[in-house]
Amino acid sequence: MAIERFLQPRASSWMSNDGENVDIAMSTRIRLARNLNNFKFPYAYTEDEALKVDKEISAVLLDKGKELKHSFTHISIQETPQLEREVLVEKHLISPYLAKGTHSGSVLISENEELSIMVNEEDHLRIQSLQSGFHLQEAYQRANELDSLLEKHLSYAFHEKYGYLTSCPTNTGTGMRASVMLHLPALTMSHQITRIIPAISRLGMVVRGIYGEGSEALGNVYQISNQVTLGKSEYEILQDLENMTDQIIQQERRAREAILSNSPVVLEDRIYRSLGTLTNARLLTTEEAATCLSDVRLGIDLKMIEGMDMSILNELMVFMQPAFLQRYSDKPLQPKERDYARAKLFRDRLNNEDVTNNRGEDFA
């Protein structure tokens, strides 16, 4: 089945470790929301309309996507088992909302997993472009190219004053949400993050934890994104976000230096304890694994730990999640069993020399 390739515990290209400032800015994401004329939006349409929208958009993408030298794989959400949907969510290829399968929906994924197009999410069409590192312009370019191609073949709902019309008024205008995933251990340890978050929200941007519930930033991974989509062009939104992200990266660097010069031994101890836990533990909860992963990442960034490939850590952050673990155990796992499978995953990946490519047959 075509979906198989996307379910493998194989690194998507956004999890690789290329790009500027990649030690702090882990990945970049652009999302464009679009709706078609002549169809009601997903909160109001009938299942019949949803089906038509799904067919129309999917057909255009499969047919015209080639013009951009991408070949897309079409995955119907309702035909996909729940666990596989969750795997796609954990890989950031679809949203939890689409995974619910409220309506006939689809996702079309490019072969390198950098582009995914959700059909019948909260809007008819959501173009998503993912990339490793801090590359807002490039990620936007890719999404924009696809958008410009689609608009030739689909009639978009567009308003002279309000721009692209979306279900949610928070997306109206450009329909664009741009975000950067940031690893901010030093700003978190020094509690500076609690001052930064409210300050940023006053500037039309928002910072929040990306994994975990609510405000808890699992593994010290945060996401900064624009909130304003109206009255600013895509270019201005990207510029503002880029400037703000740059500043946060610099602050994180400064905080790291401060911690390193004030309490180097305490920091080193913490980092090596975490490394010890990840490579030896027999039971690992998501929370503990995420915390230790963050410490080890920091250890690599600060050159305290050498000879460990950062992309493995990026992959582990994704593959240690419940759906992945269960899929590769070939059975549903109780939380305790998951903790065991997770610990084994870490030991296998981190203790083995040749671990970068295409393994996964011996999960759990």
Partner: protein, 177 residues
Amino acid sequence: MICDQCGDRPASVIVKQNINGQMTERQLCHVCAAGNHNFNIVFEQDPLAIHQLLSNWFPNQQTSPNPIKKEVAVCPSCGFTFNKFLKLGKFGCAECYEVFESQLDEIFKRLHNGNSEHTGKIPASYGSTLKIKKEIEELRKQMKSSIEQENFEQAAKLRDQVKALNVQLEGGASDGN
């Protein structure tokens, strides 16, 4: 004074909330207030919980027993009323934007830092003249910031693009329809 949330018990607590410099005040009973204790931590809220914000801003529309409603706008295409839009925090279709237009500016300004007009990308099919005009505007902005950043090479490139677009505009927008 009755609780704003349950509309049942007497209000005993005032909850003030500051979102983007916008103060809202709600009078709650002790039960609802306890359920809302995370109110002062704005960033903890799900960003999608926009319907909460909307009903905070338009409280009179939410408590519906008041029979003197201004007008009951119903979208003829999808059947959404303005109240339903507020409650859900979502539009039902493109036409909703026209039907509720008189009330939207205020909403958009609060959501988008005072803005209510799109200045970004325009689909090519949407009328090439408008597109070109807006593009020129946008390129000029980029040119200005390039100059500020002393990136003159980039600024020169942008200037040439503006020139080319102006020629197109005078030539009667030859591309598209």
